[in-house]
């Protein structure tokens, strides 16, 4: 890959604060997104992902900190930025009474040289519902239409808020393919997602956000490979004594942590080796418990995410 000399950042956020009333939804957030890269913003609901994106889109004015998109201020330089930035809102932003094709044509009219609509229609499979009003579209169809409207103006930066929410697997792969091509064309893609596999597959850079702050970031590889840690997953009867199990596993080996991730499912995280597996099966035999599934693998992004943001529902 040719190294571009001083590649200017597409998005630079530093010390962003946004309050709703007394509550700081975004609380000192820093983020950088490069051109020609997919930056995934991960975080639980209410972590401040959408608000952060909306500050980049010029839809909200920060209470503190700075946001620069292509070196410009999203609010003050909005006129200059709008033709260069593509937006896909979380709630779609599509008027319900308008046929799908008309909405796309309408947004295309705002640009001097939009992408050819037939190509985009083909790419995202919009043809089958071109004349259907938005009201009657499925969730996945709406998302694909919203993505089409976001990229029709050949943006240099695309902000996609949960682009594959509510999509079937086919739609999702069509969307991912388009996102990869945008990246290869040099577009800075910033997306928020709940889908770990989406982030793992697509993202060059992952930013984990919680309580309005960045709590971890890096490439997927950086995030999942912390040392030699592996994860052993075990399905058995619910309610096993994880304290005793942990003790049995660490008796003649390095320390691991064991948790019951959901009733009957357990995860053992740490330097899991052959002796760990042997100790585990021995302990299970002593308890007269049969493991119905046992796998050993690397930590997934989901493991990292849950470790960072906690497993409690909120």
């Amino acid at each position: 890959m040719p190294a571009s000399p001083v590649a200017e950042q597409a998005v630079e956020i530093s010390g962003l604060v946004k309050r709703y009333g007394d509550r700081a939804v975004v609380d000192g957030l820093d983020l950088v997104a490069r051109p020609g890269a997919v930056t995934a913003v991960l975080g639980p609901n209410g972590a401040g992902k959408t608000t952060t994106i909306e500050c980049c889109e010029g839809l909200r004015r920060p209470d503190a900190g700075t946001v620069r998109v292509l070196g410009l201020d999203p609010v003050d330089d909005a006129r200059e930025l709008r033709p260069r930035v593509g937006v896909m809102l979380q709630d779609g932003g599509l008027p319900t009474g308008v046929p799908a094709a008309q909405m796309l044509e309408h947004v295309a009219r705002m640009y001097a040289d939009p992408r050819p609509l037939d190509e985009l229609t083909e790419r995202l499979g919009l043809g089958s519902f071109a004349r259907t009003t938005v009201r009657r579209l499925s969730g996945g169809q709406r998302q694909r239409l919203a993505l089409a409207t976001a990229v029709v103006g050949r943006p240099q930066v695309a902000f996609l808020d949960e682009p594959s929410a509510g999509m079937d697997p086919q739609s999702r792969h069509a969307v991912w393919q388009l996102v990869r091509e945008l990246r290869d064309e040099g577009v800075a893609v910033v997306l928020t997602t709940h889908l770990m596999d989406e982030a793992e597959d697509l993202a060059d850079h992952v930013v984990v956000v919680d309580h309005g702050k960045v709590i971890a970031q890096g490439s997927v590889r950086d995030l999942v490979s912390s040392g030699d840690d592996r994860t052993l997953r075990l399905d058995a009867t619910p309610g096993l004594d994880v304290v005793a199990l942990t003790a049995a596993l660490t008796a003649d080996g390095p320390g691991v942590t064991t948790t019951e991730t959901s009733p009957g499912s357990y995860a053992v995280v740490g330097p899991v080796g052959p002796t760990t597996v042997a100790a585990l099966t021995r302990w299970l035999a002593e308890q007269d418990v049969l493991a119905t599934r046992l796998t050993v693998g690397r930590r997934t992004l989901e493991d990292v995410f849950l470790d960072l943001t906690g497993r409690t529902l909120r």
Binding site: S4, A7, E8, A10, R34, P35, G36, E57, G58, L59, A78, R79, R82, P83, R84, V85, V87, L89, Q90, D91, G92, G93, L94, P95, T96, G97, V98, H106, V107, R109, M110, Y111, A112, D113, P114, R115, T149, V152, G153, R154, P155, Q156, D184, E185, G186, V187, A188
Partner: protein, 286 residues
């Protein structure tokens, strides 16, 4: 002469550097670098006209909106003229001459207030206003498109209602028609401002209720169809202060006396200033 006028108009429509972009040839396919070319904005005129037609079509395609803006005023006109449902002293005018200006005022209220408030409220809830404001259209272009869209709908309304009235024997004079256009513009400004204030501050369902209820109340007791001085008690004074009464009086003045009542103009301009200021301050995009 001609070309200088054109360029003057162009520069009025496209401020500063957007002019040459309209005729620009397609840029070459972008190189895969960080500074790849984007599609550029279309001209401001193109964007605003696109939004105008988008807004007008959305209203005219929607059955409920068409019902409120066209069917109801036409039925009201025919009902009031043909049947003696409302026994008022027409002051020597024929019933068609007496009622048509008020029905046209009512029509302006349905499109610039009720219909626009409901459409904008639902577009706001669905994120449509936010999405369009991130495109080169921007917030200013969005508002301009909405106002022009209302004027297009009003053109359709005036044609349908006016021709119905003519079929029923209405013969307005040209001067009255010209004056009434001023009244329509003033009324549209005031009621569109009210629509934006309501749509930008209340929940969509609340707007649906408020916009219809307000229309009904103003139509009956706001000095629109029945002139303010025929209303009972204090209403006869109150209605003159309302934008509805001012618009009704302005339309009747234009068609029946060939003058625009100064008081109505003052009231409409005042409401536009106050409501527009309020909408600008209080409108919430989220």
């Amino acid at each position: 002469m001609n070309s200088s006028m054109n360029s003057a108009m162009n520069s009025a429509m496209n401020p500063a550097p957007t002019g040459p972009e309209t005729a620009r040839p397609r840029p070459p396919r972008p190189e895969p670098t960080g500074s790849r070319a984007h599609a550029g904005s279309s001209s401001r005129r193109t964007r605003v006209l696109a939004q105008t037609s988008f807004e007008a079509r959305a209203i005219l395609r929607n059955g409920e909106q068409l019902m409120v803006t066209v069917v109801v005023p036409v039925l009201a006109l025919v009902g009031l003229v043909q049947a003696d449902v409302l026994d008022v002293d027409t002051g020597g005018l024929s019933r068609i001459d007496f009622f048509t200006p008020g029905i046209l005022a009512l029509a302006v209220m349905t499109s610039s207030f009720t219909s626009q408030a409901i459409a904008s409220a639902f577009d706001r809830r669905n994120g449509v206003l936010r999405l369009l404001s991130t495109t080169p259209l921007g917030r200013g272009g969005l508002l301009a498109g909405k106002v022009l869209g209302v004027l297009v709908v009003e053109l359709v309304q005036v044609l349908v209602i006016g021709l119905t009235a003519v079929a029923l024997g209405w013969r307005p004079d040209a001067f009255g028609v010209a004056l009434s256009l001023v009244a329509v513009l003033l009324g549209t400004a005031a009621f569109t401002s009210l629509a934006m204030l309501v749509a930008g501050t209340l929940r969509a369902e609340a707007v649906l209720a408020v916009a219809n209820l307000a229309l009904l109340l103003l139509a009956i007791a706001g000095g629109v169809i029945v002139p303010a001085d025929r209303l009972p008690g204090p209403l006869s004074h109150l209605a003159l202060l309302l934008p509805s009464g001012a618009l009704g009086e302005a339309m009747r003045g234009a068609f029946q006396q060939g003058t625009l009542p100064a008081w109505s103009v003052v009231v409409l301009v005042g409401w536009t200033a106050a409501l527009g200021w309020g909408a600008g301050r209080l409108f919430r995009w989220h």
